[in-house]
């Protein structure tokens, strides 16, 4: 039981076994290549695995973690000897497979990111709820936004950040605030004339529809030309994963699936056929889902939540993540190659930096505490005034009265 391979993936969504393309591809690959008794699927999130990236494969025999679709495929092939894959395909098939796999990673992934993650409407209506459904509370507060940020970075070079209306609104509010601070005449919002043009009344997807269609056809054109029946397993799995995620989700701004349905019928057919062949009518009960209770106990979730919060600390979070990943990678390499990898210079530098920072922080804290414990400092000359009592407390008039009273007394 414990000798089963553990495949940690994002949970199911949109009628697919996972919400993430690489996870779908890995599940499909395992489904075709490994018998269900040899592995189990565990629903997870990046914070629960040491590689901090999904899909992640844990091999209990060698006690190693592998993450990412191509790494897992390479790992599985090396476990099973690796000759079988080589012999069943011709060299040109293997070359095409490598080319299409890379093409999907390089071009289909940013396109999918535009549709599911960058576009504010699709994100709010479809993707974020899907993430909330597969993550235990309170993880939906932190992890999906981190995924979205990573995806937005991935699609940055396509120059379509205008789909993210949240960011656009934020920027507009900021410029208005700056205008208010600089100007001295302030027209209240209610009195301003709305400058509503045709362009303003269009949603961002309509405004950039032509460019979006162009981006989509660039990718679909290349993929539609390939003969998917005769490709390598990994290329087919990855193509299915990306195309299914482009086609299946029911999003409010469905430009990506519309283009595919209207003009690339063979690709839609490929998705349907592959889905039938691999997941039995698209349903997923046959997949060997394991019990992921260990990671979703209250303590486990709390530690994962803390971890994701730590990564969000500006400046420090990145360094912390980098350092822990580097340590993890070195440990993996030691296990794989049986040699002790001396901590590389960069990681030891980071360690030094962290030690230095913590020592500095401790010194500053101790100094502050010491300062607070000192007796209060004051002016060099202290004047103590004896409180006046009686008529003297009324100032000059009081003195006069007291003198008068004294005189009366004398009399």
């Amino acid at each position: 039981m414990s000798q089963k391979l553990e495949l940690h993936v994002w949970g199911p969504a949109f009628g697919l076994p996972s919400i993430d393309a690489e996870c779908v591809a890995t599940i499909a690959f395992c489904e075709q290549r490994i018998s269900p008794t040899e592995y189990k699927l565990l629903q997870s999130s990046p914070s629960a695995v040491p590689t901090q990236r999904l899909p992640a494969l844990y091999n209990p025999i060698s006690d190693t973690w592998t993450s990412g679709f191509s790494d897992i495929v390479a790992h599985l092939q090396s476990c099973s000897g690796g000759d079988e894959a080589k012999s069943s395909y011709s060299p040109s098939q293997r070359a095409d497979g490598a080319a299409y796999t890379t093409f999907l990673t390089a071009h289909a992934a940013p396109l999918l990111a535009l549709s599911l993650y960058v576009s504010s409407a699709n994100w709010a209506e479809t993707t974020r709820p899907a993430y909330s459904a597969i993550l235990p509370m309170p993880l939906p507060w932190t992890e999906p936004s981190a995924v979205r940020a990573a995806m937005a970075r991935r699609a940055e070079h396509l120059g379509m950040s205008s789909l993210d209306t949240d960011a656009a609104e934020e920027a507009a509010a900021k410029t208005e605030e700056a205008g208010l601070a600089a100007g001295w005449v302030h027209v209240p919002a209610a009195l301003r004339r709305p400058k509503k043009t045709v362009k303003d009344s269009l949603i961002p997807e309509q405004r950039s529809r032509i460019r979006l269609e162009g981006l989509a056809t660039d990718v679909y054109d290349v993929l539609a030309e390939a003969d998917w029946e005769n490709q390598t397993t990994e290329a087919r799995c990855l193509a299915f994963a990306y195309l299914a995620l482009m086609l299946k989700p029911d999003v409010p701004r469905p430009w990506l699936s519309e283009v595919m349905r209207r003009r690339y019928q063979p690709l839609c057919e490929f998705v349907e056929e592959f889905s039938k062949e691999c997941f039995e009518n698209g349903s997923t009960p046959l997949l060997p889902w394991g019990d992921s209770a260990a990671n979703s106990s209250a303590l486990g979730v709390a530690s994962r939540f803390t971890k994701t919060l730590l990564h969000d600390v500006p400046g420090l979070g990145d360094e912390w993540q980098r350092w822990s990943l580097q340590r993890q990678q070195n440990r993996q390499r030691e296990k794989n190659e049986g040699v002790v990898v001396s901590a590389s210079s960069s990681s030891s530098n980071d360690l030094l930096l962290m030690a230095g920072t913590s020592i500095t922080l401790a010194a500053v804290g101790a100094g502050a505490w010491f300062y607070r414990s000192l007796p209060p400092f004051g002016a060099p000359v202290q004047t103590w005034v004896k409180p006046l009592t009686g008529l003297g407390a009324f100032g000059a008039a009081g003195v006069m009265f007291s003198m008068a009273a004294g005189m009366a007394n004398l009399d």
Binding site: E22, R53, G68, S92, T105, D318, L325, Q329
Partner: protein, 349 residues
């Protein structure tokens, strides 16, 4: 004298300001576009026409004089392509800061061809002959790398519009490759580029190479060099992570995975080249832009990372030599012989 009456300058301050200016710099050169301007590096070549277009790339000054290949894959790709297209040009060293787009290479067209380009097609050609519909860029405006393809395409039409049949490069140079080539192009843009970036920038064993190519030319100050090196490393790391990982912001590059992908990519390219009868990619009769982009990486890998120093991860040159049946190395040698015959001996050893 009158100034000192109401506000005398104190003696020490006076002597201090007497020392200024400490250094007087020479007058600036004329702008590069001015007709009389000749770059100091081009002056030894007074025999060659000085009004050739200039391609600005990452290159050392010595190599620029010899018109040798650039050491940056992106620049070398376009340098190779322009040479294939028969464009004559000078090469000058530059940095990203000098480029209008923020990235090298860019080309500054020559000044002298201006009148001929504007008058000739209009006066001599009958209206039936299709002239280039729009000039890619007006003369004297820098051509960024994204428009170099169109520039090369229009170059010969502009040079001798009367004899379009005598086009120096055969039309196959600009012929459309099959769609599959885009998939293969992504092998270069993703897998092989990542391996090149990792080896040159992040591999600790290759620091000396990074210093020699990119860091030392920027400044002589150790502090500036250290900062530049750090910035370059961070930028390369972000580039690699952005293109591969999906979930994490900060991460660690896994060299094993990078090199495995590169080996697969080179293998796939070698196999693809092996299926072509003509010896160029996708059966083209003449080397195309795709061949130029493959050459840009294979040449540099063979030249700089070819040595087998017992460093099994970083020797991309060995990977190029061993890919397939050595098709890529042969391809690289053929292109070198074709474009830089004087360098082919250096590569074969």
């Amino acid at each position: 004298m009158s100034g000192t009456k109401w506000m005398p300058v104190p003696r020490p301050l006076q002597s201090l300001f007497d020392r200024f200016p400490l250094v007087t710099y020479d007058a600036n050169d004329l702008p590069a576009r001015s007709p009389s301007h000749v770059h100091p590096l081009l002056q030894p070549h007074t025999s060659s026409p000085s009004n050739l277009p200039t391609l600005y790339v990452f290159i050392s000054e010595d190599d620029a004089v010899k018109n040798a290949p650039s050491f940056n894959p992106g620049c070398l790709k376009w340098q190779t392509f322009l040479k294939l297209a028969g464009v004559e040009f000078h090469v000058l060293p530059s940095t990203n800061h000098a480029s209008p787009t923020g990235a090298l290479p860019f080309l500054l067209p020559s000044t002298a061809t201006t009148p001929s380009t504007t008058t000739n097609p209009a006066s001599t050609d009958p209206p039936s002959k299709p002239t280039p519909p729009t000039e890619p860029s007006p003369p004297n405006k820098p051509v960024p790398s994204s428009r170099l393809y169109t520039y090369a395409l229009n170059y010969h039409t502009r040079q001798n519009p009367q004899q379009p049949q005598q086009l120096q490069p055969p039309a196959s140079l600009f012929s459309d490759l099959p769609r599959k080539s885009e998939a293969y192009q992504s092998l270069l843009d993703l897998s092989i580029r990542n391996a090149w970036l990792y080896t040159l920038y992040l591999c600790p064993q290759k620091t000396h190479l990074l210093d020699a190519l990119y860091v030392r030319p920027t400044s002589t100050s150790t502090w500036v060099q250290a900062t530049t090196r750090h910035q370059l490393r961070r930028a390369a790391e972000t580039e690699i992570l952005k293109s591969t990982s999906t979930s994490s912001t900060a991460g660690v590059v896994n060299p094993k995975a990078v090199y495995r992908e590169a080996r697969l990519a080179l293998e796939a390219l070698a196999i693809q080249l092996g299926t072509s009868d003509s010896g160029w990619f996708f059966g083209a009769e003449q080397p195309t832009l795709f061949d130029a982009s493959v050459f840009a990486y294979t040449y540099l890998m063979l030249k700089y990372l070819g040595g087998d120093e017992g460093d099994r991860e970083g020797s991309l040159g060995a990977m190029v030599r061993n890919a397939g049946k050595g098709e890529l190395a042969a391809h690289c040698r053929r292109l070198t012989e074709m474009l830089w015959p004087e360098l082919s001996s250096e590569l074969s050893q």
